[in-house]
């Protein structure tokens, strides 16, 4: 196999970045070409951010950047310097799932589970923007996440259930959410 000159270039100088991930501050040296997804998985050991296509099509690596969904495979780690990130590991805890995760469990919103972290992060932003989304809003917002198992119907049901529970938790007079 022939190698192009670009591949023979030595590694570029590593750069120091500081990021806050799931509330914890991290400082690390990264090569500029390291994607944010690889940094989260490889350097920080946060394997919940899944890599499917690695070129922005499947949505499995969706995370929150300053509260907004982004594809972690379409960002470089150096671009996240100084930013606040949330991954699937930052939403729930073992034995205490986030209401969105709990809804996916109850409504069978997953089978193999590979795409699920990306879906859950997208649903998180969707329900922030639209606490009571229509089916069309759900379909449109989740259009960028691919699932090859469920046929999406169970995912839609999961989102409706999560939306209802989160609305009830936020409603005046409701018991305070356990997360708060």
């Amino acid at each position: 196999m022939t190698r192009s000159p670009a591949e023979e270039r030595p590694s570029a100088a590593a750069r120091r970045i500081r990021v806050t991930v799931n509330g914890l501050a991290h400082e690390a040296l990264v090569e500029p070409r390291t994607t944010l997804a690889d940094f989260l998985r490889g350097d920080l050991g946060l394997g919940g951010t899944h890599l499917g296509c690695e070129h922005g099509v499947c949505g499995a690596c969706t995370i929150l950047l300053e509260g907004r969904t982004v594809r972690a495979c379409l960002m470089l780690a150096v671009q996240a310097d100084g930013r606040r990130l949330t991954t699937i590991e930052g939403l729930g805890h073992e034995g205490e799932l986030h209401p969105i995760q709990q809804a996916f469990v109850e409504e069978h919103g997953l089978q193999c589970g590979f795409c699920t972290p990306g879906f859950v992060m997208s649903v998180h932003e969707l329900l922030e923007l639209h606490p009571d989304p229509s089916d069309e809003e759900i379909r449109e917002f989740l259009g960028g996440n691919l699932c090859r198992c469920t046929g999406y119907k169970a995912i839609l049901r999961s989102v409706r259930l999560a939306a209802r529970r989160l609305r009830e938790a936020r409603a005046p007079g409701a018991a305070p959410a356990e997360e708060a």
């Binding site: 192009s4 670009a6 591949e7 270039r9 030595p10 590694s11 570029a12 100088a13 750069r15 090569e31 500029p32 070409r33 994607t35 690889d38 690695e54 070129h55 922005g56 949505g59 969706t62 950047l65 907004r68 969904t69 982004v70 594809r71 495979c73 379409l74 960002m75 470089l76 150096v78 671009q79 997208s122 932003e125 969707l126 379909r139 449109e140 917002f141 259009g143 960028g144």
Partner: protein, 291 residues
């Protein structure tokens, strides 16, 4: 899929970015939102020796009224544009085009300048820019120039930008009162690349079409103005007969669309004609003309 090795710079000003480009010439590449460039890097279709990240240049992130025109900084994200009341109220075509681009997760990162500079043949923004008569402001080391959208999009993935230049702003001129508009596309799934699409504007005076602008996307290497269709409409009464006339001109104008697994060239031509008729119907309704 891992990007090739490159050096990385994150300038804090346009001047600094232009100086870096000036020093590195064609070996350097600008990184805006990365939603097109990162896949190209991952697949190693792009191999810059230096990546100049515009993401830290705060002066490029704005949407504002500038003497009646809307000025959009090159690094404003599509989400910023989508939520801008100024764009929604004064340039609804551009607002609507924004909602057709990718998915929310893409729009949260993808920028206005990035889409214009990428100039994908199926992209909505270049077509919208051409339909609205937008102007591109461009900086280089020690200078600046402006290029009309009509002179900016040269071919597939090719614009008038020279290697040392940075697109800094997209300016949308005031839309004349009473102008109808529409932007429509067909894609396999909401958010996917358009198989074909169109952006149109239309004005009607005293029951006759006074002016029209028809732009196709996804059917040619760059956004395509259907001048024959525009001219055919002027003086006609708004209605199905006029729309059919323009639709036929659109079919002819789309000379050699791409054939790919998503659609044949013939189907793209068909879509261009159907979408132009639908878009003109919608534009006429918005212009207040019965059709």
């Amino acid at each position: 899929m891992k990007p090739p090795v490159f050096e990385y710079a994150s300038p804090r000003s346009v001047a600094e970015a232009a100086a870096l480009l000036g020093a590195h010439g064609g070996e350097a590449k600008l990184l805006a939102g990365g939603q097109s460039l990162m896949p190209l890097l991952a697949m190693r279709l792009a191999r810059p020796s230096l990546l100049v990240d515009l993401g830290r240049i705060a002066e490029l992130d704005y949407v504002r009224d500038d003497g009646g025109e809307i000025a959009i900084g090159a690094m404003a994200t599509k989400t910023t544009v989508e939520r801008s009341a100024l764009v929604r109220e004064r340039q609804p075509l551009f607002h609507h085009a924004t909602r057709l681009i990718g998915h929310p997760q893409i729009r949260n990162r993808g920028t206005v300048g990035g889409s214009m500079a990428q100039a994908d043949p199926a992209a909505e923004y270049p077509a919208a820019a051409l339909a609205l008569g937008a102007t591109m402001r461009i900086a280089r080391e020690g200078g600046e120039r402006s290029v009309e959208a009509a002179d900016f999009f040269l071919s597939a993935l090719t614009t008038a930008l020279e290697p040392g230049e940075v697109l800094t702003e997209v300016r949308l001129p005031r839309l004349a009162p009473g102008t109808g508009w529409s932007v429509l596309e067909v894609s396999r799934r909401h958010g996917d690349f358009a198989i074909a699409g169109t952006a149109v504007t239309l004005s009607v005076e005293a029951g006759r079409i006074a002016s029209a602008r028809i732009v196709l996307f996804g059917v040619a290497p760059s956004p395509l103005r259907v001048r024959a269709g525009e001219e055919a409409l002027v003086g006609e009464r708004p209605g199905p007969a006029a729309w059919e006339l323009a639709a036929e001109k659109a079919r002819t104008a789309a000379e050699e669309p791409l054939s790919d697994p998503h659609a044949s060239a013939e189907y793209r031509r068909h879509l261009a004609a159907v979408l132009v008729a639908r878009a003109l119907t919608e534009a006429a309704r918005r212009a207040g003309a019965s059709s």
